[in-house]
Symmetry: C2
Subunit: 331 residues, 2 copies
């Protein structure tokens, strides 16, 4: 396990190479690589978990790269080591990743205290999320104490990122239509913190957006968590803040809010509980995906699935009967 | 197949008995019943599909029963035969169904041209939805040409009902908080038609709610369906109407809107396409559920799932490694 030793205690250049090699191994689909990767993961596990996992989402154009660059440099100046990962299943289509173009984080990407890895670029959302979760563990074992997981904010990937981080932040533009989109897609509800970025562009709009989002979050909270009605100060109320990452305004206030959240969550035991339930949900998500993959690869199912699906589409066989028939072939 | 003949061509009392008997058979968990039920379903299938399938959702108190009673009687006066089914997985907990209390539809429940069946009262949402979908086919084979599927509007059951109907209508109270809840839960987005019921209670509030929901629906449409930008009059724009079912105001306007939607959908081929994709999605949903049930029942998995899940919760094994380990036991 030379890789393991290099990840946990190697000198900087060796550590970086070992991390890249391990993450590549985790992304491999070869069975022998997978066995090796699983053994490595379990061996790394005791050295993981000490970081803060921060999810960042927002539609293209909201300024995520600039935001992460500013935040990352701020954190490094405070003594942190920062890893930046991404979940972007669409990168398998576009052939690139939101983080593939490292020039968008000019200073952070070359900083010795930062580690940036683009989104795994192939597979389903579940597969991409799994590789990113595993890469996160590698970064933690290497001593990165803040792991930022970025996503594009245009689909189901927000749920995946919220499901692997301690805190989920949504970046918004000062624009009301944007809010409704986020509410509609159920993303707003996932957010522990909403950041109105580029607030300097239109201060009036930013103030309006902030009031609107605050009232939406309050309503969500009231219905979802009866606790909120009792003004329990140990409970976090999802919050809205304004900033301008480009002008480097508000980055320290952002991190102060994050730190406040983190303290509340860890002192109350909610952070540990959230991670436990994330791990369990993740296990089941992968079991579901694995079962479906095995089902589709089963010879008898593969032979029959086409004709049976045709029968269902043509109204010859009821869908539930077709499902039972295919399930019987599987066993 | 005496049951089949009675369902398709039996005289009224025999037909009603055969329908009830078949639906009970469909709800049975005994393997021999299931085999019999599947054979019956496939035999019935050619006689199904000629009805219009209307989904109705709304929170408790919105007046669904009164609405369905008024609508059902109106439809019967127009010469239709009306079946009313329900999806309410919570009824297995409460021991009753939203439609169990037939006195809430006093006249409709005893009308010879109506058939009312409460929600199947046991099992998961998927199981309950499956039984209701199958009962819908039985009603169609018996010549009911409007099938109304009601749901309680407090969870995932709306998605299930939208996934088995030709048109999904959401009943709302003239109350803005209610709207935001529906937007939040993603229900508003499912709606082909939003009905503000009890509009007579507060006409100003109803008018405000209507304007608000209309603009939300417009925005959803703009982003979801580029077609909407092109003012294509063959495309349906989700609509908001006001009514008062209690005062029997607006029921005919409601049905006129539904008929307009139905005509557009069937002439454009979208109704047939929607049913095909519903059937295919349903087949996959049942396959997923079946795979998971078999997995959990597998002896080696059953023995290991507890200890492995504990290891995941305690941070001893990575969740993805645990998933692969359990999947390997399954084969």
């Amino acid at each position: 396990m030379a890789l393991l030793q290099d990840i946990i205690g190697g000198e900087p250049a060796r550590q970086r190479r070992a991390m890249a090699k391990t993450i590549t191994l985790l992304e491999s689909t070869r069975a022998d690589h997978r066995l090796h990767a699983d053994a490595l993961l379990n061996a790394l596990l005791p050295a993981t978990g000490d970081s803060f996992r921060l999810g960042i989402s927002g539609v293209p154009g909201v300024g995520k790269s600039t935001f992460i660059e500013a935040l990352g440099l701020h954190l490094i100046s405070l003594g942190h080591r920062v890893a930046v990962l991404a979940v972007d299943p669409s990168s398998s289509v576009s052939g690139g990743s939101i983080l593939g173009d490292k020039t968008r984080m000019e200073q952070l990407s070359v900083h010795p205290q930062a580690y940036i890895r683009p989104s795994p670029s192939s597979g389903t959302l579940g597969g991409v999320a799994e590789r990113t979760r595993e890469a996160m563990l590698v970064c933690e074992a290497a001593g990165y104490d803040v792991v930022i997981v970025e996503t594009v904010g245009v689909g189901q990937s927000e749920t995946a990122v919220q499901g692997m981080t301690d805190m989920f932040c949504l970046l918004q533009l000062p624009n009301a239509g944007d809010d409704l989109q986020a509410i509609k897609k159920g993303v707003m509800e996932l957010a522990d913190l909403v950041v109105i970025n580029k607030a300097d562009l239109d201060e009036n709009a930013a103030t309006r957006a902030r009031a609107q989002i605050s009232s939406a979050l309050r309503l969500f909270g009231m219905h979802g968590h009866p606790d909120h009605l009792h003004h329990d100060q140990s409970v976090w109320h999802p919050t809205v803040i304004q900033m301008s990452a480009l002008k480097n305004q508000g980055v320290d206030a952002f991190w102060a809010t994050v730190s406040q959240f983190r303290d509340l969550q860890s002192s109350s035991g909610r952070m540990a509980a959230r991670r436990r339930s994330q791990d369990e949900a993740w296990m089941w998500e992968r079991i579901d995906a694995g079962l479906k993959a095995r089902f589709k690869a089963h010879p008898a199912v593969r032979e029959q699935i086409g004709p049976v699906a045709d029968d269902v589409r043509n109204g010859v066989v009821a869908a539930s009967v077709a499902a039972r028939r295919l399930l019987d072939l599987f066993h």
